[in-house]
Subunit: 199 residues, 3 copies
């Protein structure tokens, strides 16, 4: 079941990479919708292959490389959000740094099987709260929907993290990765389709 | 023989680092020729020491760290190519992202000994084709020679990858790394000497 | 004793993260003092947990991840120093690259238990000397004190490296990490307090 979920993710993001590449072909500049899908595709190939994982005492695999690739893809998503909100220069650099810290501390929390992982989780969460509060402090008419998107998209990731083998292990690796896949589709595909209609 | 090739690489890039440092000393700004050689020097020291490798079933070592350092040095080379072609802003960011993806997917393909490595190889190749097509879509009088340089320099890397233990294993690690060294000299030293004469 | 030093570092940088966050709250733009402390906090949590280390023949642990996080935090510190000295554009990119190379070659020197580590150490030192000479070549009235700060702060790191288990092992891991903690406090907290008074 876990393998099927990851293979589904691989195929979906291969498809969305092709879609966003051709949809954005005539656009000059940065096709971040394509790059985000393409980076996520590589992440799913690596998770599907199954090499770089740790295994919990309960025998559940933790696919911690996911968070490394989120560090790359979510900084691009944050760049898009910042552009929508017309945040530039040093304020933008701050948002990108915070995004990278959220994901990198998340990686450390996921790789660590001891109780210390909760410290990494708290640090990641603090960075996330600071990030969201700074994103929300800028209000523009065009970006109202982004607020709901972040609340229902990004904020569910740490909830899955806590329920999954990375946290209390209330759900198994297969269900956790299915939920992550749904969130990936929402935050990386649905969001970019919505964004292309707004812009 | 492999050790001799890597030691030769170490000495050559130590020399080219010194050469480009002093040649570019009076130039203000970014001495990328020096930085590219210096990063490649570190890569050769690490490969010569021989610690971070994987070994194929046929007993051939794969020096996958090479691709990590290409991620750093080739983004600098792409920056130089973009400057020559007057590509700036978001289009430049796109080229740098694609270059990093090519090398990072290449790293994953090199580290992976299963058949899944071919998926990483295809992804890296797709990113490379997109990169080259975007670079070639900008034509300036000064940059005609860059087209031939990329065709005969960059494009031979994936061919060596396929022939080497990372691919079908038709050539051994020593010959593969000798070919990579010749390509490194062409793309990182000869190119920068040529570039300094053009600019 | 080593664990106590690392726990002290964890608590100190948790405190300084909170302090710099609230001290810089009304400032727009990049709160790099906060980000530097926050990145260092994550580094201390990881070192305190004790997972990613190598052990020398003499049984001393080497906490090589320290240098990975320096790569992130010291590029931010260098950005602040460059801003003070009004260094921008490609010259700034060069300083940030050199800083990252110093720390990354330092990481390779720390991870390597063979004699080859001295080559990495020499490369890191060469990059450091080039970095400092380029920083010092720009003189502004406001930045006189930065010269002494770098001499007494940054330059002591490689001296500790040589004395510690990473070098000749004249001092143990506990003393080495205590010295690194004092240097971290000086270069990342005292410096930023001083900087906020200057700016």
């Amino acid at each position: 079941m876990l393998t099927a979920v990851l293979l589904a993710g691989l195929l979906i993001f291969a498809g969305s990479s092709a879609y966003f590449y051709f949809a954005g072909k005539n656009k000059n500049g940065l096709n971040s919708a394509f790059l985000v899908s393409f980076i996520t595709l590589i992440s799913y190939v690596l998770m599907w292959q199954g090499n770089l994982t740790v295994v919990t005492k309960a025998g559940q695999p933790i696919l911690w490389t996911r968070w490394l690739f989120y560090g790359l893809s979510c900084t691009l998503l944050m760049y898009e959000i910042a552009r929508l909100k017309k945040v530039q220069g040093e304020r933008l650099v701050q948002l990108l740094y915070l995004t990278a810290i959220v994901m990198f501390a998340g990686l450390l929390a996921a790789r660590d099987l001891t109780a210390v992982r909760w410290i990494h989780f708290v640090i990641s969460s603090v960075a996330y709260i600071l990030l969201v509060s700074q994103v929300f402090s800028v209000e523009t008419a065009e970006s109202q929907w982004v607020r709901y998107y972040i609340f229902f998209g990004w904020t569910v990731f740490p909830i899955v993290f806590v329920l999954a083998p990375t946290g209390f292990g209330l759900i198994g690796a297969a269900v956790a990765n299915l939920l992550y896949l749904l969130l990936d589709i929402f935050t990386k595909i649905v969001f970019n389709v919505q964004l292309s209609r707004t812009a």
